[in-house]
């Protein structure tokens, strides 16, 4: 019998994030340029499992994805039961930079989706020298809210079913059922109030319109890729954002929604591979 083992390796690290020590779970695969992946709100690092099993990527990149505290296999900080989870811009940036330090990542490429796509804009603005390139998936400086987030966390509604049903429409109708439902399963498994807490960052704390001056895309290239079926962060939202950042490169992905890496990995790689190749070529030329 052939035993099939994926190349993904998962481990834990202790990370100091603001006032808390957090036990953070991360997975990785591959060798080369570090590529740090940031999952969407209310989900976890499993969204990037297909990238980590793609030899066209892992031959050149060390792909790393971590579960934010409160998500996936990363516990909330000690004393979580005494507080309401609310992700802020500062906490999100501190988390990413702390994980980079803990894993000794030297100027990684960071790629984030949705809230991760929003935060890479802030990283480009305030920490561009710490990254060799930034990739925002479903990324915009702002987008119009489309539902009341109180529905996400109330005792008389099943939170997992609620979160999954709400985001189900963000997946393109073309995406294979297996990947659609796997993406939704992740949303069904989130802790109570965690998706809502992430959206505090998205909806309340991180309206980045007019705040992103000084981004130097010569020093740190910025790529923005958005699915045409994403009605939360629309292609127009991404294009409007890019129009304020000199040198930002936009790609609109056909037949893809809000979760490109997990809802349709085969389609997504056709858009991602040229971006990664451009980043790798730039590194080669710089040597």
């Amino acid at each position: 019998m052939t035993i099939e083992i994926e190349p993904i390796v998962g481990r834990y690290t202790r990370v100091r994030i603001q006032d808390d020590w957090c036990r953070v779970y991360f997975e990785e695969a591959g060798r080369g340029i570090p590529l740090l992946c940031l999952h969407t709100a209310g989900a976890d690092s499993r969204q990037f499992r297909h990238l980590m099993c793609d030899e066209a990527i892992t031959a050149q990149f060390r792909v790393i994805a971590f579960d934010m505290p409160w998500h996936g296999k990363s516990y909330p900080p000690i004393g979580w039961e005494q507080r309401e989870y609310r992700l802020t811009t500062a906490l999100y940036v501190d988390t990413i930079l702390a994980v980079c330090r803990a894993l000794d990542l030297e100027r990684p490429v960071a790629m984030g989706c949705s809230i991760g796509g929003r935060i890479v804009l802030q990283l480009a603005h305030a920490h561009g020298t710490a990254f060799r390139a930034l990739i925002g998936l479903e990324s915009a400086d702002f987008q119009q809210p489309w539902y009341d987030t109180d529905w996400l966390d109330r005792a008389d509604v099943h939170g997992g079913r609620m979160c999954a049903a709400l985001v189900s429409g963000l997946i393109a109708p073309h995406s294979p059922p297996q990947h659609r439902h796997e993406t939704l399963w992740q949303y069904m498994q989130g802790g109570p109030g965690v998706f809502k807490g992430d959206l505090y960052f998205y909806r309340v704390d991180a309206d980045l319109r007019g705040t992103l001056g000084g981004i130097d895309t010569d020093r740190c290239p910025l790529y923005l890729l958005t699915g045409e079926y994403d009605f939360s962060c629309t292609p127009e939202d991404t294009q409007r954002t890019a129009s304020t950042i000199a040198g930002a490169k936009v790609t609109i992905m056909q037949e893809v929604g809000h979760f490109p890496m997990s809802e349709n990995p085969e389609k997504f790689r056709t858009y991602l591979l040229p971006v990664l190749e451009e980043i790798r070529g730039r590194e080669e030329r710089a040597k």
């Binding site: 539902y147 529905w151 008389d156 609620m162 049903a165 709400l166 429409g169």
Partner: protein, 142 residues
Amino acid sequence: MNQASAAMHEANALCARFERIVKQRANGDRLRVEQPRTLSAVCMIEIGGVAALLHIERGAIVNCTRELALLTEWDFAVRGSCAAWRALWQPLPPPGWHDLFALAKRGEMRFEGRLHPFMAHLQYFKDLLALPRSGSERSAPQ
């Protein structure tokens, strides 16, 4: 046929299509539509200017009718334009026309009334209201 009567004709045709498919498939097609055992509600589905009323008892649709008496009560309503339902029911709806909330965001769909049963069983209602999706090729809504 003038514009108003053509619109009403289409609304009636779309609503009849919905009623027919719900009666044929909603209670039997467990692969596509989860049966929410705890759900009992009266739902108004409005297509253009034409309404259908769904009576759901313990997860089963016990009645679907377009014959609404004056002052008929319902728990919640999902109201959409003809363009919204026509686009939503294409096999591959165009971007922004492919989901109830995408349609709401663009002003083509509204949710009204006591929303708890709708939201607590949201995937069920999304699947139920997408049942007529079949047939034609993808094209932009008119």
